[in-house]
């Protein structure tokens, strides 16, 4: 199949773009979207690996891995959005402070 080289290279660059979103931005939604793009990049690479020309059937293992990965990433995304939302309600901020002072909160077993 012809799609192999361009899409594999795309996957590599996509990962870097997602990484930029994750470490270069401060807004948590942007960072989360960056992580999702990184995940998509890996999935794209895995699916490129599974292709085997027209006549032979594809390698099912990467496809199964990607299916598992998609479900896991939607779970993490949902959980992360919940955390981001509660963080916003509690602190009024959409980003994590880069402060170095000690965490002053109490743990739950007080």
């Amino acid at each position: 199949m012809t799609a192999v080289v361009p899409l594999a290279a795309t996957a590599g660059l996509l990962f870097a773009i997602g990484l930029y979103g994750m470490i270069g931005r401060t807004g948590l939604i942007h960072r989360l979207l960056g992580a999702n793009i990184m995940a998509s990049a890996i999935f794209l690479f895995l699916v490129v690996l599974s292709t085997r020309g027209i006549e032979a059937s594809a390698d099912p293992v990467p496809q199964a891995m990607v299916l598992t990965g998609i479900v896991i990433s939607v779970c993490i995304t949902a959980f992360a959005l919940g955390l981001i939302r509660y963080l916003r309600v509690m602190t009024g901020e959409d980003e994590l402070r880069r402060s170095t002072r000690d965490a002053d909160g109490q743990s739950a077993d007080d």
Partner: protein, 325 residues
């Protein structure tokens, strides 16, 4: 004449890259989210081009049905929730230019290295192991991806069901924060037109989901795609107010949440009776057992995804659907 498909693939790749760049570089949250939804669409085309219809189905159901709605909902929450700002000075200062350049350098270097490595590795990818081919082609279940998911790598799938459940329980723990009780995204003023669309879509979605579930053993489809589609139906119901949030989880929902994981884990233990290994299928009834597990997983996936979107401890059907203006 230049053959068309390489051109298509190159354009597809460039489109993906441009979209991804706009997603991470856009200023506004809402723009980023909408662009990310388009990214999901184009990703589905990529799966279709790469001969992975199973994944295209899952991507369609999850990105259009679940992730998109979740992200839009997060935007809404960000605009609607008042937030109680904490004293303690401004948030993070803008990053210094040295730090910015460092980030560019890391991403650029890694991207170049990865793109080269991946293209090189993809060209020389090894053949599928012959024993794997035999195991898949001689299996009672016809769809190779389903064989991997349910039998050969069934343990991963079991754990993935656990991840689903844990995502919900994690949210549930957050909801337990008493001081924030009642923080549910409530739909407001849903027009009757949307409601009638949902009413019409319900039977179609149900039939499609069951069809995907049923053909999953021999053709693309299966518990994940069907469950995600049903979860998307739940999202629609929640959006139009046909489902109301509850602040506790009724027993039936608890059962629905753990059904897939419970049946899978129970099967793993039971299989020690007829075999030396956990998670091995009885020789006579492989297809039947696989279908039972898939059914349980489909129900759990649908229930969990709906609850994850709803962001509440429980849900119930509204007595009278909301009729807006």
């Amino acid at each position: 004449m230049i053959p068309l498909s390489p051109v298509f693939d190159v354009l597809l790749g460039l489109g993906l890259l441009w979209l991804a760049w706009r997603v991470v570089a856009s200023r506004g949250r809402f723009t980023a989210v909408v662009l990310f939804m388009v990214f999901g669409l184009v990703m589905a085309i990529a799966w279709a081009r790469l001969g992975a219809p199973d994944l295209a189905l899952a991507e369609a159901a999850i990105s259009a049905g679940i992730t998109g709605a979740l992200l839009l909902n997060a935007c809404k929450a960000a605009y609607a929730d008042p937030g109680h700002p904490q004293p303690g000075g401004p948030a993070t200062p803008p990053p210094s230019s040295a730090r910015r350049w460092l980030v560019y350098a890391i991403c650029g270097g890694l991207g170049t290295a990865l793109a080269a490595t991946m293209a090189w590795l993809a060209l020389g990818r090894p053949d599928v192991a012959p024993e794997l081919r035999d195991a898949v082609s001689g299996h009672a279940v016809d769809n190779p991806v389903t064989v991997i998911l349910l039998d050969l790598r069934g343990y991963d799938t079991l754990l993935e069901m656990a991840v689903l459940l844990m995502a919900f329980l994690g949210l549930r723990i957050l909801m337990g924060h008493r001081d924030l009780a009642g923080l549910h995204p409530l739909p407001e003023g849903v027009p009757s037109m949307a409601d009638s669309l949902v009413a019409m879509a319900t039977p179609i979605l149900l039939i499609t989901a069951l069809y995907l579930f049923w053909t999953g053993t021999e053709a693309p489809g299966g518990a994940f795609q069907a469950g995600a589609l049903l979860g998307a139906l739940g999202v629609m119901y929640r959006l139009t107010g046909r489902i109301e949030p509850l602040d506790h989880t009724p027993a039936a929902l608890r059962l629905g949440l753990i059904l897939g994981l419970g049946v899978f884990a129970g099967f793993a233990c039971l299989s020690l009776i007829w075999s030396d290994w956990p998670l091995s299928y009885p020789a006579m009834a492989t297809a039947g057992v696989a279908l039972t597990i898939e059914l349980a997983m489909m129900i759990s996936i649908a229930v969990t995804l709906t609850l994850l979107f709803s962001g509440s401890a429980g849900i119930r059907l509204a007595r009278a659907p909301v009729q807006g203006p």
